[in-house]
Symmetry: C2
Subunit: 197 residues, 2 copies
């Protein structure tokens, strides 16, 4: 049975991105430092990186696919990740603008879902083939799934930096029952894994 997981990297003050997010700086001011653990410590964090990449389907918000804003995107927008995105699985993008599926190289196909999070989850569950379903972000999408009680495991990767502003993961999420399952760290990140609900 698929578990619904959510991996997010946050600063010690709880931000998933710094202030002043733009198309040119989608992680905001200083936000790129959040993810050093994935690039500079790949061996030490191999288990957590594998945990992100092993899902059978992904769900993401519109902004994670296309950047800040809420209008329709240009039809030739193909995501941030080039022609061979790292997902290698179906990715369901929450949006209010319908669009034909977009098949990329390496097994990634972006599907555009206009019927909301429960519909996206049902489609992802069908597509995942029993593997996990990963809520890939951004923060507001993760928050919606958390608030709806639809996440089984929240995996926070806490970078040892203070961003001082930006988008917070947990603001307004309401009551959430969390049980620590594992905690582990490296010089660039502390991994906090929680069972939810």
């Amino acid at each position: 049975m698929s578990q619904v997981t959510c991996d997010l990297t946050v600063s010690l003050d709880g931000f998933v991105a710094g202030p002043h997010q733009t198309m040119e700086a989608p992680l905001g001011a200083g936000g790129e430092r959040l993810h050093r653990w994935q690039f500079e410590e790949q061996d030490a964090n191999a288990a957590e990186i594998a945990g992100i990449l092993e899902a059978g389907a992904y769900i993401m918000g519109r902004n994670m696919f296309a950047g800040p804003g809420d209008g329709p995107w240009p039809d030739d927008w193909r995501g941030w990740w080039g022609e061979d995105p790292p997902y290698h699985a179906p990715v369901f993008v929450l949006t209010s603008h319908a669009r034909e599926p977009l098949e990329m190289q390496g097994g990634t196909t972006f599907h555009f879902v206009t019927e909301g999070i429960e519909s996206a989850l049902a489609r992802a569950r069908d597509a995942a083939g029993g593997k996990n379903i990963a809520i890939a972000g951004g923060a507001s999408t993760a928050r919606q799934f958390l608030a709806a009680g639809l996440i089984d495991e929240l995996r926070l990767h806490v970078a040892p930096i203070v961003l001082g502003g930006g988008e917070r993961l947990l603001d307004g999420v309401g009551e959430v029952q969390l049980e620590p399952v594992e905690v582990r760290g490296t010089p660039l990140v502390s991994h906090l894994r929680y069972k939810v609900g």
Copy 2:
């Protein structure tokens, strides 16, 4: 040589106390759940509890000694902790209202410092006899010491709860250099220990 340490328990969303702090509920709504790890898991958290209690001197803000507000306190206010407070060492209370030292049982003496954080730190260093100096809180006091670069080790005890509001530790603290030293957890808390500076 004394190290300056700061142990604080925070919710997963970064609050040291819940919303609506009052004299009757100094930890705010839901805030008492932050500290379950110290009372319900004493054996599992013995090292961290000892780390808090081994200091040779403590520094705390006015509100931690006397509750919310900024006026003078009644001269007969003797803190929250009864006649034998858990510190068993000199405690320097930052305040704008001078007062004679208050000697309690068990080795705790409250000294009232009106000259600011650096003066309090100098007096605490003299009193600590080479043991650590603990910044005991609350959040705004910890933030002042952090922002001034005066803390050597920040020990965050992250409770697996979402408070949704209250007083945040790191808001407005500015740039802080943090290096994770140790991370460890129990069902009721995740301990994140950082070297600062």
